[in-house]
């Protein structure tokens, strides 16, 4: 074998490993999407491929609710003259079945919205993630500016503390935080969902690293032009930091949109404050069996905004880098 076939062999291995890795990541998404399209029977029997056969299915609950009783049979006697009661019952039952039959995909997605106030949950998710991100930026930018561009005694120590805070897991301080919020009477409010996340050490660290790459000349030029330090942060640093801010936005929004742990702790009972992940619980198996189809449909709806936002941000991200024209 010559050099180039060795090279190709190496490449093949690399690709094989990467493909396996991507399957591991993509498979759950595939199943989620597939289940959100299929009927309960197909899910249970594991058949129908990705889309399922999309045959009409009967919504069991709808049929159960409309079960014809004696009164219904009596009132229908005129339409079915000359039939016995049991025959009328059968005819009515057939009618109800046609009325209650739907395509699985329609069934899953309408159930996702009708079984739980999903729109409300999505809106809560938007309110919480956007508030968190906005406050995080308001806090992180001036901090990062001070840590990267201003000279003051103890700067390195403060930055060291920031790095140290990166090491503290949320779960370690969850209980004290909860107690604090409870004493303030803030549990079961938006504030409880937002306040603990407003100071993001990761955001400060990330923006500080980015600001280190901004030439000092730019800040000096702004000072010569008469801009004050706050003005420099918002009018000079913020616009140049858009690419980094987008990267941070992806981290922040994804983390808090998907967060199940914290909302589960501080939102107890009040369904109006549920965030999307809490909403998913509504479909967990109860007495009448698990609702996998609608549950997966809900999950699909919840992740869609993230994926769309990421794709949009990704394009902006690259544009942002090429437009800065700093180097």
């Amino acid at each position: 074998m010559n050099m180039s076939s060795y090279h190709y062999l190496g490449e093949t291995w690399k690709h094989a490993i990467l493909i396996v890795g991507s399957i591991v990541v993509i498979l759950p998404f595939y199943i989620m999407l597939s289940y959100s399209l299929k009927s309960p029977g197909e899910i249970e029997r594991n058949e129908g491929g990705f889309f399922g056969s999309q045959e009409m299915m009967i919504d069991e609950r709808c049929a159960k609710l409309r079960e014809p009783d004696q009164a219904a049979i009596d009132s229908a006697r005129q339409r079915f003259t000359g039939l016995s009661d049991s025959e009328i019952y059968k005819a009515l039952k057939a009618e109800i079945d046609t009325e209650c039959s739907v395509r699985p995909i329609i069934f899953n997605y309408t159930k996702a919205f009708s079984e739980a106030p999903l729109l409300r949950y999505l809106m809560n998710g938007v309110i919480v993630t956007v508030s968190i991100f906005v406050v995080q930026v308001i806090v992180a930018l001036p901090c990062a500016y001070a840590l990267s561009k201003l000279r003051f005694r103890g700067r390195e120590f403060v930055f060291g503390m920031v790095l140290f805070c990166l090491l503290i897991p949320v779960h370690a301080i969850a209980l004290p935080l909860y107690i604090m919020l409870a004493k303030l009477g803030l549990t079961n409010t938006y504030a409880a969902l937002v306040i603990p996340w407003t100071i993001s050490v990761f955001g400060i660290f990330l923006m500080r690293q980015f600001f280190m790459t901004v030439p000092d000349d730019l800040i000096d030029a702004a000072r010569m032009d008469g801009l004050g330090e706050f003005s420099i942060v918002w009018n000079v640093m913020l616009p140049t930091a858009i690419p980094a801010l987008l990267a941070f936005a992806i981290f922040s929004v994804v983390a808090h949109w998907n967060d199940y742990f914290w909302p589960r702790i501080v939102v107890t009972g009040n369904r109006d404050l549920f965030t999307p992940p809490l909403g998913l619980r509504e479909f967990k198996g109860d007495a009448d069996g698990s609702f996998f189809g609608p549950m997966m449909a809900t999950a699909t709806i919840i992740v869609t905004p993230l994926i769309v936002a990421f794709l949009l941000a990704q394009r902006k991200f690259i544009e942002g880098i090429t437009l800065t024209g700093m180097k």
Partner: protein, 393 residues
């Protein structure tokens, strides 16, 4: 009269002393260049003048007004940076508007959207726009006003940065290596343009560079700085032809001045390479000295003529088109001298050839062991001396 005066400026960063008591008077309308190798403190000095950096001791006066402790933006100076430092998210027009907006508009008038409708704002904006257009016209960047810095070439960005500095008509321009990021051809071109601009604006320019050619070509006066001191402050011609010490002589001029070992005797006669210089150094003690000879003060003489004070072997040839520089190892075997010649004379000379070299009379400069210049006695004899009026290369 708006001159700038520096008195006893000192600056230390922690333990490191970067400026040792600088005194400098900058005349109004002067083009003063601070030149020196990197780390000599020239940029720090400029930043102290601008107000971006605070001095450890000493005072800065602009006109009659002491400006110590005055904010950079209130000193009425403008600065041009090496990296241009244009705001990347704003168009060239907006970049140029920024200093005017900050100076002329109040806080509420600067607010986006509603600011322009406040009383007095629209008139001011109109005036500012006019100023920007006038400046753009001078710099010939009208066509670029709506573009962002990312869409401009290096030279265009340089002009935009100049525009932003010019638009507020400051009492002085501070320039921190503004041409260093340009390519060689454009740099030479911009040198001429800056000189022209200085003549036209008739404003004080303080220019920092490490490039001695920029310093010599553009300035009215040059301050050569090294290790936190101004070694010499003089016109470009004098700095080149009459350097105060060996460090200035070595820094200014390209290729570098040749430094030969010499010997000064009791009578003030200097002997270098078994050859006695004609002029004498009066009142000196006998000592080892350095003899400086610029490449253009050495010339090739025909081998057979027997003329010439030095003999050497050609080690390397640099062809620059109009000139040829020969690197010659002299007969002592250790000293290398650079000799300027023209292509006609240098024709046929190659690596390893032996050449004879003559020096221009009266061109040598003598420095003592500490590097300080030892003056020759005034010439009264018949020997014609024209070295003082040497043209700047």
């Amino acid at each position: 009269m708006v001159g700038i005066a520096l008195n006893g400026i000192q600056k230390s960063f922690g333990e490191t002393r970067v400026l040792n008591s600088i005194d400098l008077q900058i005349e109004e309308g002067e083009f003063l260049t601070l030149v020196g190798p990197s780390g000599c403190g020239k940029s720090t000095l400029l930043r102290i003048i601008s107000g971006l950096e605070a001095q450890s001791a000493g005072s800065v006066t602009i006109g009659d007004r002491p400006v110590d402790g005055v904010r950079a933006s209130d000193r009425d100076l403008a600065m041009v940076f090496q990296s241009y430092a244009l705001y990347p998210h704003l168009t060239v027009r907006e970049n140029m508007m920024t200093p005017l907006r900050m100076r002329d508009l109040g806080f509420w008038q600067r607010l986006p959207l509603i600011g322009r409708f406040l009383p007095g704002a629209s008139g001011k904006l109109e005036g500012m726009r006019k100023q920007v257009n006038e400046t753009a016209e001078v710099l010939k960047i009208e066509a670029l006003l709506e573009r962002k810095p990312g869409q401009l070439s290096g030279g265009q960005r340089q002009r935009a940065a100049l525009g932003r500095a010019m638009v507020r008509r400051p009492v002085a321009f501070l320039m921190d290596e503004p041409l260093s990021n340009l390519d060689a051809a454009l740099r030479v071109h911009m040198r001429a343009e800056l000189t022209e601009l200085h003549r036209r604006l008739n404003t004080t320019f303080i220019y920092v560079t490490h490039d001695q050619a920029e310093a010599l070509t553009m300035s009215t006066r040059v301050a050569v700085m090294m290790d936190g001191d101004i070694l010499q402050l003089d016109t470009p011609t004098n700095v080149y032809s009459d350097p105060a010490n060996l460090r200035v002589a070595s820094f200014v001029g390209s290729p570098k001045i040749n430094v030969l070992d010499g010997r000064l005797d009791r009578d003030g006669v200097v002997t270098v390479m078994n050859h006695r210089l004609q002029r004498r150094v009066p009142g000196a003690t006998p000592q080892a000295v350095k003899v400086g000879l610029r490449p253009e003060h050495l010339r090739l003489v025909p081998e057979i003529s027997g003329l010439g004070e030095y003999v050497g072997t050609v080690r390397h040839l640099e062809h620059l088109g109009s000139d040829v520089y020969l690197h010659v190892v002299l007969s002592d075997g250790t000293t290398t001298a650079i000799v300027r010649s023209d292509p006609d004379h240098a024709m046929g000379i190659g690596h390893g050839d032996t050449v004879r070299i003559a020096e221009t009379r009266g061109a040598a400069m003598i420095f003592d062991a500490a590097g300080d210049r030892l003056p020759f006695e005034p010439v009264s004899e018949s020997a014609p001396v024209s070295s003082k009026t040497q043209e700047v290369a």
